[in-house]
């Protein structure tokens, strides 16, 4: 039997589609649970949130919108032991890698930033690199639009186009499967009894229709919020850099809780701290927030960003100037989590609109 090739590898589209039934996904995840910590999105009062897959009874939903918890929290833990005593060992190195199910396009874009930061030969973050290397990503199209979604404004589609192993496009009775990596291809080959080749033009049409409808709805919301055009985002942050009033106005309601940093799929800043227990000591890496006053303060007392508006400006500068300059990517994925999380109701879409004068 011939298997359809990964688009990225063959550069051409194929005629057959791969189809996975709902029940077969359960069976796949059951089997994958042996080698991976499998996480699935479960609907809660706060929206979709990741939870450990606990067998066929787990009530999860692959489509919908992105989870409220950012994908980074499974690759770069909020608080993680990174070294113990003076041992060169990497803590948790024998843990099972994550298998994330139902990952959305915005979170996958976050990997472009996090990979740039954490993967390198000399000083790469070992736990991040291991989770990325050994982990499995089963992504999915969005089938709904959240009130804060604006991915199309940052040049993303509400369906994944890269960074996944396999992608699931929900259709009646199951999913149309797309391969995104060699690892994904191998997985489909290994579980060939679950992944079936079908020749069904209607399925293809259903996938396209959903994608088109969801994208349209995001675009309508983006238009309502007057978000500047993608190609202008970098320029307007530079242009308004010295405009203190606009940053002061935008940061007025900030209470420095750091929620925007915590939920952001691209925020990567952390702090190292030491902890002692009896005769052992350990070094921990914890998420940090650039909105907090002491973030850049040095021991001597000098603080390059002593004022709140400077810190908000720095956050935008980092996302819309720094990362495009060093990594060629805007570090905003349009997931809208920071909008949902902010107790001061600071809306990144409104700040961007305010910068465009």
């Amino acid at each position: 039997m011939q298997y359809p090739l990964d688009k990225a590898e063959s550069g051409s589209y194929f005629f057959f589609m791969i189809f996975l039934k709902h029940a077969d996904l359960d069976e796949l995840l059951d089997s994958l649970s042996g080698d991976y910590h499998v996480y699935v999105p479960v609907n809660t009062a706060r929206g979709a949130g990741y939870t450990r897959y606990r067998g066929p009874g787990t009530d999860y939903a692959v489509g919908g919108i992105r989870s409220f918890d950012p994908l980074k929290s499974f690759y770069f833990l909020g608080r993680e032991k990174v070294a113990e005593d003076f041992k060169p060992d990497i803590p948790r190195k024998n843990d099972k890698p994550p298998c994330m199910v139902g990952v959305k396009s915005c979170d996958l874009k976050g990997f472009k930033i996090l990979d740039f930061v954490f993967i390198d030969e000399e000083f790469g973050d070992p736990t991040y690199m291991k989770a990325r290397r050994d982990g499995l990503i089963i992504s999915s199209d969005c089938t709904a639009v959240g009130e804060n979604c604006f991915c199309t404004a940052v040049n993303l589609n509400p369906w994944p186009d890269s960074q996944f192993d396999i992608n699931l496009s929900p259709v009646d009775g199951g999913f149309v499967v797309e391969l995104g990596s060699g690892k994904g291809k191998k997985l489909v080959e290994e579980y060939s009894l679950l992944f079936r080749n079908v020749e069904d033009v209607k399925l293809d049409g259903a996938v396209k229709e959903n994608r088109k409808a969801v994208k349209k709805e995001v675009e309508v919301r983006v238009a309502e919020k007057n978000i500047p055009a993608y190609r202008r985002l970098e320029r307007i942050v530079t242009k308004q850099y010295e405009n203190m009033e606009v940053w002061e106005e935008s940061s007025r309601n900030c209470v420095e809780c750091g929620a925007c940093n915590t939920v952001c799929p691209t925020c990567h800043c952390f702090l190292l701290y030491e902890q002692k227990t009896d005769d052992k000591f350990a070094r921990f890496r914890v998420w940090d927030s650039c909105m907090i006053k002491d973030f850049a303060r040095v021991a001597g007392g000098e603080n390059p960003r002593a004022r709140l508006w400077m810190r908000l400006r720095n956050r935008f500068d980092k996302k819309f100037n720094y990362f495009p300059e060093v990594a060629g990517e805007i570090a905003c994925t349009g997931c809208g989590r920071c909008i949902a999380a902010c107790p001061g109701k600071i809306d990144i879409r409104e700040v961007l609109a305010r910068l465009e004068v």
Binding site: A83, F86, L272, D288, V298, Y322
Partner: protein, 271 residues
């Protein structure tokens, strides 16, 4: 995979009190650990915390290193309590350090202030090792008062060197001080080098670095030839934790030594 967060177990061999708030620690790392002038180390007191410091000893000495530390916060307070025989952690070397090859064939002006004399000590040793490859060598250093002058007897020896044009100043003199009085920029007017080609190195407190840089510009040193040792909040030391960003750079990974033209346009560089 290497673990970049892990420190090397290191023994404190000797503690020298330089001033009431400054001590120099002679350290012996348990594993091979070498550095180049201007590179820094993350030094930790197990279970207490970690902070970045630039060694102050000759980088050609491979078995041990000295680090001079001012008591200013939680970690440095714990460091100041250390005694010979105690154990600390060292992580590094980190950063790029001084571009020593850029000094070959040029006049070099070194300007130091306060505890900035510590990293400069390593640099001066480095420059002495390659003294025959550089043209004129000028050292100007200052501190608040004679009691805060680091490595005083060593500096007095250096004063006698015929291959070094050196001057020291203090902001406030005491009875025993017979040298110049005033900030370091007041002893820079008699520097006699080819300014349009000279390389200058500045290390000291932010305010001193700022005015020394302006003075060097005034003398005719090009922005691209002024090397500044920047101090920023650095946690990881290798460009991941995000604290020490200056425009497109991280102070730790891309510095901590920057030419002035690299960073002059970014806000808050002197803070």
């Amino acid at each position: 995979m290497k673990n970049p967060y892990r420190s090397i177990k290191t023994e404190v061999l000797k503690v020298t009190t330089e001033t009431p708030t400054i001590k120099t620690f002679l350290l012996k790392p348990g594993e091979k650990l070498t550095f180049r002038p201007g590179q820094f180390m993350e030094m930790s007191v197990p279970g207490v915390g970690e902070a970045p410091f630039t060694p102050s000893s000759d980088s050609e000495i491979k078995e041990t290193m000295e680090i001079t530390i001012v008591k200013v916060g939680k970690v440095t307070e714990a460091i100041h309590d250390l005694k010979p025989g105690d154990t600390v952690g060292l992580r590094g070397p980190l950063g790029k350090g001084y571009p020593m090859t850029k000094f070959i064939g040029q006049d070099v002006i070194v300007v130091g202030g306060g505890v900035g004399l510590a990293p400069i000590r390593t640099l001066m040793y480095g420059l002495f090792h390659m003294r025959d490859q550089i043209d004129k060598l000028v050292y100007r250093a200052g501190c608040r008062n004679p009691g805060e002058l680091l490595y005083r007897s060593e500096l007095e020896d250096w004063m006698k060197r015929s291959d070094l044009d050196m001057k020291l100043t203090v902001d406030q003199a005491d009875e025993a001080w017979n040298g110049p009085v005033g900030v370091v920029t007041t002893i820079m007017d008699d520097i006699d080098v080819n300014f349009s080609r000279a390389r200058a190195v500045v290390c000291g407190p932010p305010i001193m670095m700022k005015f020394a840089t302006f003075k060097l510009q005034e003398l005719g040193v090009k922005d691209r030839n002024i090397y500044l040792s920047m101090e920023k909040n650095m946690s990881c030391g290798f460009g991941k934790c995000g604290h020490c960003r200056i425009g497109p750079y991280y102070c730790c990974k891309d510095g901590p030594v920057f030419t002035y033209d690299m960073i002059r346009d970014y806000p808050g560089i002197w803070e």
